[in-house]
């Protein structure tokens, strides 16, 4: 079918422009870090702690009504769910201690710090229920994360990212060489930083599902790099005298149609989540699309370019042929 219109052999001299690529990547990474430092991340309750409560918006329950009914310190916004219904989203940390009743006032300071978040949640939900005469079923969502857990979740998220990176480093080093491992991991870090930059730029909520998105992107990034590495290794074995730049160019060109097809189908699938999956998955999916785009780019311009700098040779021992592989004419 249409794939036959894809040129049989592309000859794009990728590596000639590698410095342009590396500079662009560095600019993006520095920009991302700058964004995170200045704009910060829009941390969700998973990591920031506090509560988020969602109600369905009706004629009697509007954002303004909710705002006027609950005493200070709350952020009330509207949102749209997957089916187009309007929601009222209330986000808050801890409400004024004096609102939380005598039982709370009697606690020690340490206990207060531990329980303020949960007590605030109880208070706000109760107030809303009474003010608008709502039942439990009208509270669509009510998440509350205490300070202890939010800190832990954040730490665990970072640890997960770190451990995943290390495991992939050693896997690539084991299958290829250190040079490839460094290239693959550099591309992975490039993609992770770029994606975090997007979270900051668009102020997409950063929560546990974002960590899931980041890990997926990391997986995809390495997946993509490995496909190119595999081809580099293969071509290197066949043409031992060929200059490294040329080896990498041939490898990237030969895998180019696969790169676009797989990237394309993955983006199509994730696009379906963005459009139809509802607000919970939207942020995660937008980040994933961006991650796939820069992941594809970085496997060529970051991973391969770094391998070129560090050396493409797989091993110094005489090259043995993989069984079943015949040499090309």
């Amino acid at each position: 079918m249409l794939i036959k219109y894809w040129p049989k052999e592309t000859k794009i001299p990728f590596m000639r422009y590698r410095y342009v690529g590396v500079v662009l990547s560095l600019i993006m990474m520095v920009g991302s870090i700058y964004l995170v430092m200045t704009r910060g991340l829009n941390l969700g309750v998973d990591f920031a702690g506090g509560s988020v409560v969602e109600l369905r918006q009706t004629d009697t329950v509007t954002v303004a009504d909710v705002r006027s009914q609950i005493p200070g310190g709350l952020t009330v916004n509207s949102a749209t769910d997957a089916n187009g219904a309007e929601l009222v989203v209330i986000r808050f940390g801890e409400v004024e201690g004096s609102l939380l009743g005598p039982e709370f006032a009697a606690l020690t300071d340490e206990e207060k710090a531990d329980r303020a978040s949960a007590a605030s949640n109880t208070f706000v939900v109760k107030t809303i229920k009474q003010a608008f005469n709502l039942t439990d079923e009208d509270i669509l969502r009510n998440d509350s994360v205490g300070p202890k857990v939010s800190g832990e979740l954040f730490r665990e998220g970072l640890i997960a990212l770190g451990v995943a990176t290390l495991m992939m480093f050693f896997y690539i080093a084991f299958r290829y060489t250190w040079a490839y491992a460094v290239g693959g991991i550099a591309a992975l870090i490039h993609d992770a930083i770029g994606t975090i930059g997007l979270f900051s730029l668009l102020q997409i909520q950063f929560d546990l599902t974002s960590i899931a998105a980041l890990l997926t992107i990391i997986g995809y990034s390495v997946n993509d790099s490995v496909v190119v590495f595999d081809r580099i290794r293969e071509i290197r074995r066949k043409y031992k005298q060929m200059p490294a730049t040329e080896v990498i160019d041939i490898a990237t060109n030969q895998t180019l149609s696969r790169t676009f097809l797989t990237g394309g189908t993955t983006i199509i699938a994730v696009m379906a989540i963005v459009i139809f999956g509802g607000p919970v998955l939207q942020g995660m999916s937008v980040a994933m699309i961006w991650g796939i785009v820069i992941g594809t780019y970085s496997s060529i311009y970051f991973a391969a370019a770094i391998v070129l700098m560090l050396g493409v040779d797989i091993n110094r021992k005489p090259v043995e042929d993989t069984p079943g592989f015949e040499a090309m004419p």
Binding site: M1, R115, D143, Y220
Partner: protein, 535 residues
């Protein structure tokens, strides 16, 4: 690579048919199907069914200090005067995780009997429960010339926490689900946390109230003199008594030492009084019934307070001795309150007050919406990817799409087999897998295309395509599998669901893309003797 002996074909077909059978209950009602077919659909996570997720913690400091205060009572009896030994006078001083036993009277020479005290303490200091390593529950060190510091070693602390955790789990289950019918799940997490998941429960506050009670039930005799109550309210409580309040009874002075305690209660349930108002019935065990009978016989005319967590529930007057041990609490309860209180009383006392760390509540309407939008996204995603693949690769693309469908079926079958839970991010994982699963096929097709372009015949091209793509496919998928496994071990609820479907999807996609597509291709080539694959 291209040989498919009958047994291999059979194996592939068996796997696929097994997948279809396992996945079937998810799309149709199987309740009338023959018995050997599975009827259980995939477990849905709380975010899809609605319900309450509650994570609670047993504070270690509280567990330790409550154990220390129990130990203080043992110390009191160990230091008491008996027929053959002198008493040791002391003052226990609880300091969070440690307790200082301060001896208060020196002997005739002005020395404190620390050695004797240590000897007696050693006798009542049991080994660490359940510990294989040995060692004693408490550690005693001399503190100055008149003190002994009681502390808890790390090993003993973790044994105490383990004990408190398992007790608390039992109590939580009995309180939340006294009849054992609700579909709640309780999972320990770490050494002092419990995650409670209650699908279908809309109100977290009810659960929290139910679980934040200590559940310490006592029956205390009451001192009725108004003058004593007045002076107690002014701050001077008669020794041996406590001033407690009750919504029905007002302030009352009760004896500090209870006559009957929670451990004496056998069962408790909600019932109705003569006017058909809800009340709480309970039955005492033999020991409790005897104590109750004796107390009521000896204290006719007095008030007998039923106290739960230092609040007087009711204080009926003793008119006659009550044998049999059947007791009730009347009051103005709703049925639900009476049921909850009965569950609290029957479940017994918590080793320590739990603290709620985080909660996630999703209403069932939102859950249904999520299923709907997730399903829609999956269908759209699958159709678009299918369209794209067929457009690009024609017939081979069609094979890839069939593999993709088989892949989704196998993911559901594996989810059922493992009893894993499908969450909304889990659905996203499936959709992502749909996008990425074609990668293996694309790698192969591209290889075949190259080989054909290099002038190979169709059979050698297909052979070489699959052979050469295999290593790449494995390498590339193993790295993503790493990410999924780490995600799973990080695992909190919904994200874990994402990791599960992603991991399963990777494994099943390698099977469907590499084995199933290949089989279809080989059969096609054999049947139609095609000269060139249109890839």
């Amino acid at each position: 690579m291209l040989q498919f002996p009958p047994w291999k074909v059979l194996l592939v077909l068996v796997v696929l048919i097994w997948g279809i059978v396992m996945a079937l209950p998810n799309v149709m009602n199987m309740s009338n199907a023959p018995g050997f077919l599975p009827k259980q659909s995939v477990n849905l996570g709380l975010d899809l069914r609605g319900g309450v997720y509650l994570e609670m913690e047993i504070p270690p400091a509280e567990v330790i200090s409550s154990r220390l205060s129990v130990f203080a009572r043992d110390v009191r009896s160990a230091f008491a005067r008996t027929s053959d030994r002198e008493p040791i006078y002391f003052q226990p001083e609880l300091r969070g995780r440690t307790m200082l036993i301060k001896l208060s009277r020196p002997d005739a020479d002005g020395n404190f009997p620390v050695e004797e005290a240590l000897r007696r303490l050693d006798r009542i200091n049991g080994p660490i429960e359940g510990g294989l390593a040995g060692g004693k529950t408490f550690e005693m060190t001399r503190a100055g010339q008149d003190g002994i510091l009681v502390s808890v070693s790390a090993a003993s602390e973790s044994a105490m926490l383990a004990d408190a955790l398992s007790k608390t789990m039992t109590i939580v289950r009995r309180r939340v689900d006294p009849d054992g019918v609700a579909e709640i799940s309780l999972t320990p997490s770490g050494n002092n946390r419990i995650v409670l998941e209650a699908p279908g429960e809309p109100d977290p506050e009810r659960l929290k109230t139910l679980l934040s009670r200590d559940g310490r039930m006592t029956f205390n005799l009451v001192e009725t003199s108004p003058a004593d109550i007045a002076s107690a309210q002014a701050g001077i409580v008669k020794p041996g008594f406590r001033l407690l309040e009750g919504p029905e009874t007002g302030p009352l002075l009760v004896r500090e030492i209870p006559e009957v305690v929670g451990a004496d209660i056998a069962t408790a349930s909600q019932g109705n009084d003569e006017a058909n108002r809800p009340q709480i019935n309970f039955r005492l065990n033999a020991n409790g019934a005897r104590k109750f009978y004796e107390t009521t016989r000896n204290n006719s005319g007095k008030l007998f307070a039923i106290v739960l967590d230092d609040v007087i529930m009711s204080a009926p007057r003793i008119n006659e001795p009550i044998p049999g041990g059947n007791v009730r609490i009347t009051g103005s309860f709703t049925i639900e309150e009476a049921q909850d209180l009965a569950a609290i009383i029957a479940a017994g006392e918590m080793p320590a007050k739990v603290q709620f760390l985080d909660q996630r509540v999703v209403s069932s309407t939102l859950g249904e919406d999520s299923i709907e939008s997730g399903f829609r996204a999956a269908v759209v995603g699958l159709s678009l990817v299918a369209f794209f693949m067929i457009l690009a690769y024609g017939l081979q693309g069609m094979f890839a799409v069939l593999s993709l469908v088989a892949n989704v079926i196998l993911i559901f079958a594996a989810l059922s087999l493992l009893g894993a839970t499908l969450t909304l991010p889990g659905i996203a994982g499936i959709i992502l897998t749909i996008g990425m699963a074609v990668d293996a096929n694309v790698l192969v097709f591209e290889r075949v295309r190259e080989e054909q372009n290099n002038g190979r015949s169709i059979w050698t091209a297909v052979q070489a395509g699959y052979e050469r793509a295999l290593i790449t496919i494995l390498d590339a998928n193993i790295t993503t599998l790493f990410a999924a496994i780490i995600l799973y071990s990080l695992g909190s609820g919904p994200v874990k669901g994402f990791a599960v479907t992603l991991a399963l999807g990777i494994i099943t996609s390698v099977f469907t893309a590499f084995v199933f597509t290949r089989m279809m291709t080989v059969f096609w080539l054999k049947t139609f003797k095609t000269k060139r694959l249109a890839v």
